[in-house]
């Protein structure tokens, strides 16, 4: 009983405190760079799509709102043939960003994405892809990965030795 009375008193004291409300949209709130808003696909420092279509974001998505199909470039590297996020289902949980092994998928501090037509909430790759590196400026997956690409031969990735000649008898 006393605790109820105390609660009433504590609440009553709030008569004299200031409202926390931010008067959006007249007053824009501060959103940190780590805010989980609209999802984008970024590019690596060389300007190529970072996404390698590994499907991990789609697998981890709790509402299954990411669908993509892998395709292969001339040099054998992977990229998504299509990449679709259904934002009318997205809950902005950020698990896709956590799962992404190439920093391709990132959440941004933009949440103003209302539409009058639900169909417009479906973003295809061209809607998602930005011309930038996002939060991770230096990372390029294919420079680290052992896969051979047009610009990088076997043995030229990070921490790799030159290819072995199996026909050599040298130790």
């Amino acid at each position: 009983m006393l605790s109820e009375l105390r609660t009433i008193w504590e609440v009553l004291k709030h008569t004299f405190t200031k409202a926390e409300t931010v008067q959006y949209p007249e007053e824009m709130p501060y959103l940190s760079p780590r805010y989980r808003g609209r999802i984008v696909l970024t590019r690596d420092p060389d300007g190529e799509e970072r996404c390698v279509a590994c499907n991990l974001c789609a697998a981890v998505c709790p509402v299954d709102c990411i669908a993509l199909q892998k395709d292969t470039r001339e040099d054998g590297t992977w990229y998504p043939e299509f990449f679709r996020i259904n934002f009318s289902r997205c809950i902005m949980c950020g698990m896709c960003e956590e799962a992404c092994p190439t920093y391709a998928i990132q959440l941004t501090p933009d949440f103003e994405m209302c539409e009058y037509d639900r169909q417009n909430m479906v973003y295809e790759k061209e809607n998602l892809l930005i011309n930038g590196v996002g939060k991770y400026p230096d990372y390029n997956f294919y420079r680290v990965s052992g896969m051979q690409t047009a610009t990088k031969d076997k043995g030229q990735a990070k921490n790799e030795a030159a290819p072995i000649d199996p026909k050599s008898l040298l130790p």
């Binding site: 990411i66 040099d75 054998g76 639900r118 790799e160 026909k167």
Partner: protein, 916 residues
């Protein structure tokens, strides 16, 4: 039954097992890499380490390898001991030293045994700071992608490819940490079973190249239990679909049939299902010969108008399901139904059915064939006509090795030791054929004879077995070898289209049985449902059923003909067939791909492929097995049985019109023939539920459900409902402990790769927990099936040769050839001749030969074989260019001086890029 203790838990284990098998049988998770249930142990990866203690007092113990340690009474082990765990983790850590950072772009990711084991042992952080070894990859053909950097040197690939499948062109090279698994130079892998490398490799060194082109992760594939339609062996497969496209075919374990392995036709030959030549809509032929697309109902109305209360005949198909054939037969009446074989094949098949119903010899499964200790193959290149059987035969010749090992007290799973002990000693396998076969390398004796002589040879062996002394010493020798065996196996088949050969094989098998052997007789047939169709039309009388030419002759008296999934061009008698199309009767055809028969029809109906429909196929073993739709047919395709039901409903065909569910069709079909009565037991009916739930076709991780269709409309469609089978197009349900014929894919917590199969097996390498799928339709009355010898001697003019069909895994099959990769491997049609003849004709391999048969002339590429019977030349059987050449026909050969050497073409592979 020894008792062993693992972490103080007492386990009853089978005598002769090793500890790894014992642990896996007990449901414990002991990591492993190099051990494979079909290939035994070599102890090379050091992953299945556990601690063995001397006795109860011993607290220290010593580390042993589970796969190399046999179980002994009272032995004590610890799986959870700290030092064993650390050891296993250290092994994975060192395996990972050179592992490239490429899981996101690896075709194995998500079903990688290495990923599973790494997680299982708890290895996480890389401590080694040195450089990683790298390797150059090889181009291994259009089927297999090579990425050598990912190798963990478990040697499974080499042991499978060379030791198990008998391949010659893949091996371990170099030494220490330079070990390299590949060919001596880049090139197409020669083995017909190379695709199994994909499943054997515990990581992503060998991956499925066609799958990689339109890759999806395992968890995103929608799968269903299915049966391969590539040949009559009836291997169990698990095709996977995503975005309406059949992405890949994986092996589905069947203890008695295919075990862990498929042939390359089965694994890679389903690409035709995604082909542009698929029919999407029904079409009615316009007067100008082109087709007008019409909707389902319109097509049915048109067809009903043509067939209702009219004189209609039907042509069935050995590549359509038993149910579809049955429905067509009921629709048109048994008297008007033609099974759709060529005349020669129909005669042989009726002999085979009669034989199987009466023979005293057993009709073995592949598992049983692997136990044979002497094999006689009469006139069949098994590797190319029933490939998976040949892989089994390669194992059966090892029975000699196992016998020797048993004498030495060696367990069978001690693979390296057993092979070392036996060296080249094998169980006898005698091949009597007209030409090279792909089993020659493991045969103890190869005898080259023309078709008629093969039959005579077989009868000779049978006589010799009965005690008669034959003139031909080779015959007596073979008879002696078979007589010395306990369970001899005789194999023959329809590929030579020679009834005498089959009968002679039957005679040998029967005589062996009379001699007190548990003899086995396996007769290969051509197509996936040849035997089922033969059973359906078998009325117990030996006389010929209606044949296509007979039907064609009375075509003008008919109002309409319905053709079920059959390309008549492939059934011989081209003149009569043209008569059929030229007659005034309407021709209604349903098929999967565009073909000449469809082009000549008045109404074409788009049929669903095996991956989009359900049905029953009867393998050459007499095993009826059900395949289920992997996904819903797109556009206006329908399974043939549904087309036929709709036609029957339109015609108010009283009995058929009541059928609505597939199960009802199966029941009606089973009732129609005593031989088909077992059909209802083939697979559970549609009301089967596993713990109250349907079996899910999708994995529990199936992704993108709310986005995959959002590109078309954001309003999500309902999941398709499957009212016809116990499976669901959904991730809801229970994929565990279901009957074997309903397992759509294998997965178990912590085991994402196909190694999770062991969680579905009742015991390691044993049958599945849900039993064995399929039901045997044919039971023999054991009265004996010997046919008298009919001696034939052909009169050859000078410069005339007998044509012998040469079958190819890639190329001879009608459907799989429409897959780009298979077409590339099939190459061009050819004429196969011996070295001497080549010399005489002045041609070398790759030259052209003019082959003249009657009046027709063909210009074909020359292939030179090492072993060819007298007066025989081979031709590429089943290739569309050589369909008119018939086995046994006489031809003349002349060098084609105007032969144009075709430039090598790369159809399916982007050789420059895809293999790097």
């Amino acid at each position: 039954m020894p008792t062993i203790y693992i972490d103080d838990q007492a386990l009853e284990v089978a005598q002769g097992e090793n500890i790894l098998e014992a642990c896996l049988n007990a449901g414990m998770d002991l990591p492993y890499f190099c051990w494979h249930p079909a290939m035994g142990s070599i102890g090379s990866c050091r992953q299945c380490a556990l601690v063995q203690y001397q006795n109860e007092e011993d607290t220290k113990g010593r580390i042993v390898m589970g796969c190399m340690t046999p179980v002994t009474e009272g032995a004590r082990f610890s799986l959870s001991a700290d030092n064993a765990g650390e050891f296993r983790e250290a092994v994975v850590e060192s395996l990972m030293l050179n592992h490239p950072h490429d899981c996101p772009v690896c075709g194995e990711g998500g079903e990688c045994h290495l990923q599973d084991m790494t997680v299982m042992v708890g290895h996480r952080d890389r401590r080694y700071t040195g450089k990683k070894n790298t390797h150059r990859n090889q181009y291994l053909g259009p089927l297999i992608h090579h990425e050598m950097n990912r190798c963990i040197t478990c040697y499974r690939c080499e042991r499978y490819y060379r030791d198990y499948a008998g391949g010659k062109d893949l091996a371990a090279q170099a030494s220490h940490d330079h070990v390299y698994f590949g060919r001596h130079e880049e090139g197409v892998l020669q083995s017909e079973f190379s695709g199994n490398l994909v499943e054997v490799c515990p990581t992503g060194v060998f991956t499925d190249k066609p799958f990689l082109k339109h890759y999806s992760r395992k968890w995103d594939l929608q799968s269903a239990p299915s049966i391969c339609s590539g040949c009559a062996v009836g291997c169990n497969i698990a095709p996977g679909e995503r975005y309406g496209r059949l992405k890949r075919v994986h092996n589905r374990y069947n203890h008695e049939v295919n075990g862990y392995f498929l042939c390359d036709r089965g694994r890679f030959g389903s690409g035709y299902i995604n082909s542009d030549a698929r029919l999407d809509y029904a079409g009615i032929k316009k007067p100008d010969g082109s087709f007008m697309a019409v909707h389902q109902q319109q097509a049915i109305d048109t067809a009903v108008g043509w067939i209702k209360n009219k004189k209609v005949a039907g042509i069935g198909s050995p590549r359509a399901s038993l149910e579809a054939n049955y429905l067509l037969r009921e629709l048109v009446g048994a008297a008007n139904f033609v099974p759709g074989f060529s005349d020669r094949e129909a005669a042989i098949l009726s002999t085979i059915v009669r034989t199987l119903k009466t023979t005293t010899a057993a009709n073995p499964s592949i598992k049983q064939m692997e136990a044979a200790d002497a094999i006689l193959i009469l006139g069949e290149d098994v590797t190319n006509t029933a490939p998976r059987v040949a892989l089994g035969l390669r194992q059966s010749v090892r029975n000699k090795a196992f016998e020797l090992a048993a004498q030495m007290g060696l367990p069978q799973w001690q693979d390296a030791a057993v092979r070392n002990l036996a060296q080249d000693q094998r169980s006898p396998m005698i091949i009597v054929s007209a030409m090279d076969t792909r089993l020659d390398d493991v045969a103890s004796q190869c005898i080259s004879l023309p078709a008629d002589d093969i039959a005579a040879f077989g009868y000779g062996v049978a006589k010799a077995l009965s005690g008669e002394k034959m003139d031909d010493e080779a015959v007596n020798q073979v008879a002696d070898i078979l007589f010395a065996a306990n369970s001899p196996l005789v194999i023959s088949g329809t590929s030579m289209l020679h009834e005498g050969i089959i009968n002679s094989a039957v005679a040998v098998a029967e005589q062996l049985h009379t001699s007190g052997k548990s003899s086995m007789l396996s007769l290969c047939v051509a197509e996936s449902n040849s035997l089922g169709l033969a059973l359906l039309v078998d009325d117990g009388q030996s006389d010929r059923a209606a044949s296509i030419p007979k039907l064609a002759k009375r075509a003008s008296k008919l109002d309409a003909v319905i053709i079920l999934e059959n390309t008549l061009e492939r059934r011989g008698a081209s003149g009569e067939i043209q008569q059929l199309f030229d007659a005034d009767s309407k021709v209604i055809s349903m098929d999967i791909l565009e073909n000449t028969t469809l082009g000549n029809s008045d109404l074409v109906l788009p049929a669903a492929s095996y991956a989009e429909s359900q049905g029953t196929l009867v393998s050459s073993e007499g095993r009826a097995q059900r395949y289920f739709p992997v996904y819903q047919p797109s556009a206006e395709r329908l399974p043939s049985w549904q087309w036929l039901l709709k036609l029957a409903a339109g015609c108010e065909c009283s009995e058929l019109a009541e059928l609505e569910y597939f199960d009802q069709v199966v029941a009606a079909c089973a009732n129609s023939q005593p031989a088909l009565a077992q059909l209802v037991d083939v697979a559970p009916l549609r009301d089967y539920r596993n713990q109250g739930l349907k079996i899910p076709r999708q994995t529990h991780r199936y992704s993108g459900r709310t986005a995959m269709n959002a590109g078309v409309s954001v309003h999500e469609p309902q999941q398709p409902k499957d009212t016809q089978s116990p499976l669901a197009f959904s991730m809801e349900g229970l994929n565990r402990d279901e009957p074997a014929s309903l397992i759509p894919y294998v997965w178990s917590p912590g085991w994402n790769s196909n190694q999770s199969l062991q969680k579905f097996q009742a015991e390691v390498d044993g049958p599945l927990k849900g039993g064995t799928s399929g039901a045997h339709l044919i039971s023999s009355d054991g009265l004996g099936a010997v046919q008298p010898q009919v001696s034939v001697t052909a009169n050859l003019k000078p410069h005339q040769w007998h044509l012998v069909p040469v079958h190819r895994v890639h190329g001879s099959d009608e459907m799989s050839i429409n897959t780009d990769e298979v077409a590339e491997l099939a190459g061009r049609p050819f004429i196969a001749i011996g070295e001497k003849l080549a010399e005489k004709l002045g041609v070398v391999e790759g030259d052209g030969l003019l082959v003249t048969q009657h009046k027709a002339e063909f210009s074909l590429e020359v292939k030179i074989l090492s072993r060819v019977a007298k007066n025989c030349v081979g031709f590429s059987a089943g290739y569309s260019e050589t369909l008119e050449l018939q086995p046994g026909d006489l031809v003349t050969l002349v060098k084609d001086e105007s032969w144009v050497y075709p430039t090598p073409t790369m159809i399916a592979t982007d050789r420059g890029a895809a293999h790097v």
